[in-house]
């Protein structure tokens, strides 16, 4: 056996293993679409996507409140999480002394490792009463959900933004400083715009994480199937709709939950593709 042959052999085997993991994705997609699409066709894509009432008992499957709910919660999480995350990334990249950086980075890793049910429980016990007592409403609300989610997406935003800031050529910073810009001007006018694509990708991946979160949201959002009208209203997201009702669902109801999964799948795929495209298009 020649060396080349062995190399080829190993290469092929690793290729096979790599593809087997992708084939699982294909299998999942195939199954979800196979279960969900028939129902979407049956009741019509328009009624399904734009229907405002979700009453499975009466055969009404409209997921617009969930779509709106998902976007409210995600938008809220970004609104709170993005400034925090970006500021943290800039600080880590530009000012942090090595010892502090080490502590901060490992703390962020811990943040990423906390199970979502813990976030949910903490939110339910600490955050929800605070919101209820000081702002009114049931407490189980979009605001509480967004607050929790903003913490949950921080690790994603921080680590990817920091990486993209670090990947910039040192000449950018040197050039800006040489032209007489202050440190802050350099960061805000040169470094952040130059790392734009990576930062946007981090936002989109954070969005994906926020959209996909289920357990914590079941515990905190209150899951009402009504079009939310304020940040203090309860809401239901696409994921919690599946999570909360799958236990008993049969027949059309079950298929409608898979159909919800189809929509979620499409949204997440779209966001991830967007993130990949944007992060490829590097400036500089």
């Amino acid at each position: 056996m020649t060396v080349e042959f062995k190399e080829k052999f190993i290469e092929k085997i690793l290729l096979l293993i790599a593809f087997s993991s992708i084939s699982i994705l294909a299998l999942i997609a195939f199954f979800i679409f196979g279960e969900g699409l028939p129902l979407i066709w049956k009741i019509g894509p328009k009624t399904f996507l734009l229907g405002g009432r979700w009453v499975p008992g009466q055969g009404e499957f409209g997921i617009l409140p969930m779509i709106i709910g998902s976007f409210w919660v995600t938008f809220g999480a970004l609104l709170l999480g993005l400034p925090l995350g970006l500021a943290c990334a800039i600080f880590l990249c530009e000012w942090t002394p090595p010892w502090a950086g080490m502590i901060l980075r490992s703390a962020i890793q811990v943040l990423a490792g906390i199970p979502s049910v813990i976030y949910g429980f903490w939110g339910l016990v600490v955050l929800v009463p605070l919101v209820r007592n000081y702002l009114g409403g049931p407490g189980l609300s979009i605001l509480s959900g967004s607050l929790i989610l903003s913490i949950m997406i921080l690790p994603t935003i921080i680590s990817i933004s920091e990486d993209s800031l670090k990947a910039l050529p040192p000449s950018y910073k040197a050039g800006a400083l040489a032209l007489g810009a202050t440190h802050w001007e350099t960061i805000w006018r040169v470094l952040v715009p130059a790392a734009r694509s990576g930062i946007v990708a981090s936002i989109i991946l954070g969005m994906g994480r926020a959209l996909g979160e289920t357990m914590a949201m079941i515990m905190i959002l209150g899951n009402a199937v009504k079009m939310p009208s304020s940040f203090l209203d309860s809401a239901r997201t696409l994921t919690t709709n599946i999570g909360i009702e799958m236990g008993y669902a049969t027949g059309d109801h079950r298929q409608a939950l898979f159909a919800t999964g189809v929509i979620l799948f499409l949204i997440i795929m779209f966001l991830n593709t967007l993130a990949i495209v944007l992060s490829r298009r590097r400036v500089g």
Partner: protein
């Protein structure tokens, strides 16, 4: 200038290796500020001999990996086979499936039964009343658990009332409202009454808490309280009795419904038209929010299923259920 040349040289060396298709031992490190003064020293190219050794190790590892996984799979497969066969041989097993409201009680009974009959095994599964009845029809389960009366085609099945459970309307203990007529409860849950003020309470918006679509408790509540009316869509939805209790215990403006057996000191069960939801009133039929817990069979039960049913209907088992907050089936006015 020197640094850049050194870097380029290193990269070219790397690419050459790459295109030759041999293993690369060169570890290219991204230049950072500290290394600029010391140009990185290119590592020696891997010799053919070392390459061969590595390749062999990798090959061995690959084979080990594949055969290892294969063997593990085989092992698991054999284990599963032997376990299922072992179970079938040594223990007569029956499956009890259905309502998640009945499930915890059935588990308790099954445990007790298996204690008395060590050779038998009873598998208890959830899934909901409808799923349980379906499972009995299809033969996937020998006994179905239902927390509602049989409807339509299901009536052809053989059902036995094993106990009754009351649904309590619960509020926060600090809520001044302690008694509501059933009509008012319905008005509240349809969303027509929105403020506690209208019911003699504080000037606060009512927070409705309900179970998710498909839950047996929700179905029972729908039938017993709501009738043809719909539970308001703005109601908060929780996916278990415990979660509802948790929300109501934390929110002074909330109202919800759970199994009477699960009411504790953190919440208060409302009187309905002056009737306290307790054992006496359920037994004498004055408290109406009661649902049946049924065991469902395809026909007259026999064998292991009959033996389990006999145990469940025995005074000891019924006493056990009473202790857990249910009303025994043996008491009078049994129906449903």
């Amino acid at each position: 200038m020197d640094n850049t040349i050194a870097e380029c040289a290193l990269r070219i060396a790397e690419y050459k290796n790459y295109f030759k298709g041999t293993m690369i031992s060169t570890k290219y490190q991204a230049p950072n500020h500290k290394q600029i003064s010391h140009p990185p020293h290119p590592s020696p190219l891997p010799s053919g001999e070392r390459d061969g050794v590595r390749g062999r190790w990798a090959l061995a590892f690959g084979i080990y990996l594949i055969f290892g996984i294969w063997k593990l799979g085989l092992l698991l497969f054999l284990m599963v086979i032997s376990m299922t066969m072992g179970c079938q041989r040594s223990k007569a097993g029956i499956t009890v499936a259905g309502s998640t409201s009945v499930e915890p009680f059935a588990e308790l009974l099954a445990e007790e039964y298996m204690h008395l009959h060590p050779r038998s095994h009873i598998y208890v599964q959830g899934g909901g009343s409808s799923a349980g009845i379906q499972a009995v029809r299809s033969g996937a389960a020998q006994i179905g658990m239902s927390s509602r009366s049989l409807i339509g085609r299901e009536k052809s099945l053989y059902a036995v009332l094993i106990a009754r459970d009351a649904i309590a309307i619960i509020v926060h203990p600090k809520n001044p409202v302690i008694d509501l007529p059933l009509v008012k409860v319905r008005e509240v849950f349809t969303g027509r009454i929105k403020n506690w003020k209208e019911l003699g309470g504080a000037d606060r918006t009512i927070t409705l808490v309900t179970r998710e679509e498909g839950s047996g408790t929700r179905e029972a509540f729908q039938k017993l309280v709501m009738g043809k009316e719909e539970i308001a869509l703005e109601a908060l939805v929780q996916d278990s009795n415990g979660a509802i209790r948790q929300v109501v215990a934390g929110d002074p403006n909330a109202i919800g419904y759970i199994s009477l057996g699960l009411v504790n000191e953190k919440v208060r069960a409302l009187k309905i038209s002056g009737v306290v939801p307790d054992f006496e009133n359920i037994k004498n039929g004055r408290y109406h929010l009661v649902r049946p817990f049924l065991f469902v069979f395809t026909g007259e039960p026999s064998g292991e299923a009959k033996s389990f049913l006999d145990f469940v209907m025995s005074p000891e088992a019924q006493k056990l259920l009473t202790r857990e907050g249910l009303v025994p089936a043996l008491s009078k006015s049994s129906g449903g």
